[in-house]
């Protein structure tokens, strides 16, 4: 599991993840992701296009990132979930906590960035 950060328009950053966000993957990137997001001044888009799996620690990583962003007045949306990942999001009703969009344009619109 790895991630990279790039601009997504003038007011948002796209964090693109690659790999499996299972317990091992979540633990591998947890500290680096928190540190990177703490430096961000832009709204956040989590690009999950290349993520094949999200487990319970991965869900916690996403919700913790959204809460931390919210405390700093920033919004976070996810997009690009593969069908098996979307099933996980549906199971835990993740859309009650943060916007889940089909693509980057819809995610930007969802957070008003």
């Amino acid at each position: 599991m790895e991630f990279s950060i790039a601009a997504a328009g003038p007011r948002a950053a796209r964090i693109a993840f690659r790999g499996r966000l299972d317990a091992a993957g979540a633990e591998r990137i947890e500290e680096a992701l928190a540190a990177a997001l703490a430096r961000e001044q832009r709204h956040l888009l989590f690009d999950l296009t290349e993520v094949a799996f999200v487990g319970s620690l991965g869900i916690r990583l996403i919700t913790a990132s959204a809460r931390a962003a919210g405390r700093r007045g920033l919004r976070l949306a996810v997009f690009g979930a593969q069908p098996q990942v979307q099933e996980v999001f549906d199971t835990v009703a993740l859309d009650a906590i943060l916007p889940i969009a089909a693509d980057e344009a819809a995610a930007l619109a969802a957070i008003g960035a």
Binding site: A24, A26, Q84, E87, V88, D90, A93
Partner: protein, 138 residues
């Protein structure tokens, strides 16, 4: 019912992730649908991590099968007694919940049946029959 497949989970998160992937693949091969696979993957990670890290179990034995399209997960560990079917209420003040904030609602929201037993060998046995593909998460 499909032939049960047995796994042993011990060690670090990477070992857990490997078993999780293999167990979900076994359920898919046995006919579990995408919703059942997603639910099973979440529960395996949640329950095994909690048993190993908070329950003090040295290992978790997992058996998976598919019955009439529904996934069945059986977890066995030799940690201290813990009955998640009796743990719907909040834990006592100061106590660390062995299955945390995501786990218990996930368990009760995705399972059609949950049975817990502590046998004479001192083994916790948690038997979960997940809801079917068309049954929504509660």
């Amino acid at each position: 019912m499909s032939a049960p497949r047995a796994f042993v989970i011990r060690g670090d998160a990477a070992a857990l992730a490997r078993v999780q992937a293999d167990a979900v693949a076994a359920l898919a091969d046995a006919g579990a649908g995408p919703r059942g696979q997603a639910r099973a993957g979440l529960l395996i990670e949640e329950i095994a991590l909690n048993a190993l890290r908070h329950g003090g179990a040295p290992e978790v034995r997992l058996t998976v099968a598919v019955e009439d399209g529904r996934a069945r997960l059986v977890f066995e560990d030799a940690g201290p007694p813990f009955d998640p079917t009796a743990a719907r209420a909040a834990p006592p003040p100061g106590a660390e919940p062995r299955i945390g904030g995501l786990g218990l609602p996930l368990l009760h929201g995705t399972a059609a049946q949950v049975a817990y037993a502590r046998d004479a060998r001192g083994v916790n046995r948690l038997d979960i029959l997940l809801r079917g593909e068309e049954e929504a998460t509660g």
